[in-house]
Symmetry: C3
Subunit: 353 residues, 3 copies
């Protein structure tokens, strides 16, 4: 594709030779002639001087950036333009429309126009699948489940009975939506009576959930993942959790039962939140943190238990110096003993006088 | 259903109008007329005054609880009664009995009466499935596996060869039972020789395992999950682990190889235990903790590494104050320097006199 | 099998009765007559005196080990010999060669000689499967994927489009290779634009990946797991990560995007590494650690954030004593106040004089 045409489609100002042929989008260190690359992070600006790419997507820089030895696509938002460029060069292999002969679709399931259902897919009684939705091979959709339009459900996903998905939802491979919440009532003999989990699971529009993540169903009420939220791999959302809109949950995050996560919250990898609390809108949870109390809106917390991030950084730094602090404390204690002894000597003669 | 009939079935003392029709069980904040709700946790007692529910399941309260504006089902164990009430109102869609035509069941597999085997299920040679057990779609059961009576195996589960399940076992979607343990012998050239993992995996009666959890098989001996244990989602049980009876393992817990977990142990979310140690009966492991040494029976430990919880709480509180402690330490050091100087001054004149 | 024949096959020096029949390999505490056991860890040496095994695989011991009451197979590398012995006694049930009639293999897929493809397996258009590779039931292989020779792909695995596997790769049940990386560009309205993930995933020769682990695909460039690396269960490898050769990643490890893990690195359970950094060759990461900065080759780090392990051990020990340190600090402060007062008294009279 000619660079000039790419610039037009991406609405970027072109500087340099628009006739060059672009065949791929590549990272700046790996780019070769024929590649389009990008810099969205200032740390990679020095690599501009030596890139072998034929063109680079570039935001506004503060003068000190080297001028690349290639054409430039100027934009205010290089990361978004990069995303669009990648989409232009994608190898796409959309599966065939229609219902594969090797599937088991209940007679009363309702399928929208242009759905694609792959081999070895099970669709339960009364389930609904919206227009243009793609169900990859070996997915299991339970009775009464409702899936919206333009969803992509990757292979090996389980969507349990009565789970509801909005439009443009993407579930990656192995996701489980609607498994039983972990709810038991301890009996007097020490055994645990299962509390049947028959509540609702609602996954709203434009949600994406990463591979092998699990979303549990509550006994009563609902578990809800609100519109525009993006969840990474191996994340656990317990029963009765409410996750807000446009939330980002990185890999291996866990949210315990009945907790509320506000809108625009970000949780870094391997962090967790205990049950029955609230993480306010726009809060940020640092990597590997354990949130044990509710967090106010807009707060950035880290640690175990989590507390304000700036304080945690200082405490974590001091933690590293703890052995020295301990030694220093003992050394000071010794000097105090010496001071006390000397002062006693010093005072004793005075009394004697 | 009439509230009077519900009270009878749940063996609760009814206070109020037994003729009201109940259609649903709901949480106290979400309950509407026609709903039955419950309070099992004292923190929700204040909401009793304003609930819109038609009836509430209530334990003995200490007088200060408001009287709800609705009928009451009195009980000594409101959480258990709630569990039974939820079961009464469950939407149940038990799959059809029999073997789906789209399954692949080995000719010599032994199926008990009234089993249900869904589409795209594979049952290996010589496997046994007990009476009334439900195998949901797309489950794979390996050769020689033994599954007891009244089990529920949800979709996408893998039960590997020769794994043994007791009666009334529930495996949620995506569970893997019997995958190879992570065992390698380092060779002189730095490569890792695989130690074949051909030991046993036994999952006893009344065990429930959450979505996408994994139970590994050892090289020799067995991995055992004992009766009545309940495991949440995304939990890892390594090869040769022995988990006791009535154990509760919350989401994303990990147990390393050859470790023994006693009876009635509780491990909170994202905690882990190292290999070759013992966690004693009734021990509790706090959230996100790393247990690196054996834990005595009945002990509650938290932290990384884990130590007694009460001590950890104090240490965690002090951790937050570490930067101030460090400043205070330096300030005291300065005052000691000043004291030393003054004392030197104070002593010097004495000598001079 | 006669012990003499076993000794010959394992190239061990036999001490004792070579005519004894061995039927099983067992752990030293569980061994019975007819069993072959082993000691590769000095802590188990005392059990030698009382083992009921018929024979034991034994390395060189330092004299103080009790002589076992049974035959001995002498070797320099008891763990490796144990691995080979286990393989000799393995219950093996290799699936039948050929393509199961219940599979859906694309017409243009290329299958090597002696492949085994189980029921309900989907093989996409243009995919390639090498010689003698075993595809267990209910696996989904995407269009254009390439799988080498002698691989074992266990049930419920998803190998996404264009993923490349070398020879002798083992993927355990539920592994996902090639799911979309977690990459989004934040828009001015707060929503997140998906960056299409169309890069490569390469899993080299002799890699083994544990149950339900996930390997993501990047937008551009590649995610690579290099030869001989062994990954445990529920591990997350993000988009664009490069994992070196012979790396060991224990269960529930997470590696964030674009990070490089050197050769021969070992990461213990539940540890994590942030994005865009490098963990040098032969580095070791302790259990549950959070690596937030690049780690030099050969370094052993632990903690959150991770720092040199020996320092972390001391700091962790001091952490436990923090409450006492705090009390001691306050007690010293009080003694300083007293010293200051006494010194003031001591000095005041001097002035008066």
């Amino acid at each position: 594709m000619k660079l000039r045409d790419i610039a037009n489609r991406l609405q970027c100002r072109l500087e340099g030779d628009g006739d060059v042929d672009i065949v791929r989008v590549a990272a700046i260190h790996a780019a070769q002639p024929g590649d389009l690359t990008f810099v969205a992070n200032a740390r990679y600006l020095p690599q501009l001087a030596t890139t072998r790419a034929s063109a680079v997507i570039l935001g506004r820089t503060k003068g000190e950036a080297p001028h690349p030895p290639c054409a430039v696509l100027h934009t205010d938002d290089p990361y978004t333009v990069f995303a669009r460029a990648v989409a232009m060069f994608a190898r796409t292999t959309p599966p065939a429309k229609g219902v594969d002969a090797h599937s088991a679709v209940a007679a009363d399931a309702v399928l929208g126009p242009d759905v694609s259902i792959g081999p070895f897919v099970t669709v339960g009684a009364g389930a609904t699948i919206g227009a243009r939705t793609i169900i990859h091979p070996n997915v299991v959709i339970g009775p009464g489940a409702v899936i919206g339009d333009d969803c992509v459900i990757h292979s090996q996903v389980s969507i349990r009975e009565h789970v509801v998905l909005g439009d443009r939802v993407t579930l990656h491979n192995g996701v489980v939506a609607g498994s039983d919440g972990y709810g038991f009532a301890r009996q007097k003999d020490g055994t645990h009576l299962k509390i049947p989990q028959h509540g609702d699971v609602v996954i709203e529009d434009d949600v994406e959930i990463g591979a092998n993540s699990t979303i549990d169903r509550p006994a009563i009420g609902e578990t809800r993942i609100s519109a525009g939220t993006k969840i990474d791999n191996l994340v656990h959302i317990a029963h009765g959790v409410a996750v807000g809109r446009r939330v980002l949950l990185a890999a291996q995050v866990g949210i315990a039962g009945s907790t509320t996560i506000g809108d625009d919250v970000m949780m870094a990898g391997q962090s967790g939140v205990t049950g029955h609390i609230t993480v306010g809108d726009r809060a940020i949870v640092g990597a590997k943190s354990a949130v044990l109390q509710s967090v106010a809106a807009g707060t950035f917390v880290t640690g175990h238990p989590a507390f304000p991030h700036a304080d945690w950084r200082k405490a974590a730094l001091a933690f590293r110096q703890l052995p020295q602090m301990k030694k220093r404390l003992e050394a000071l204690a010794q000097r105090i003993v010496e001071l006390e002894e000397k002062l006693a000597e010093c005072q004793t003669p005075q009394k004697d006088r």
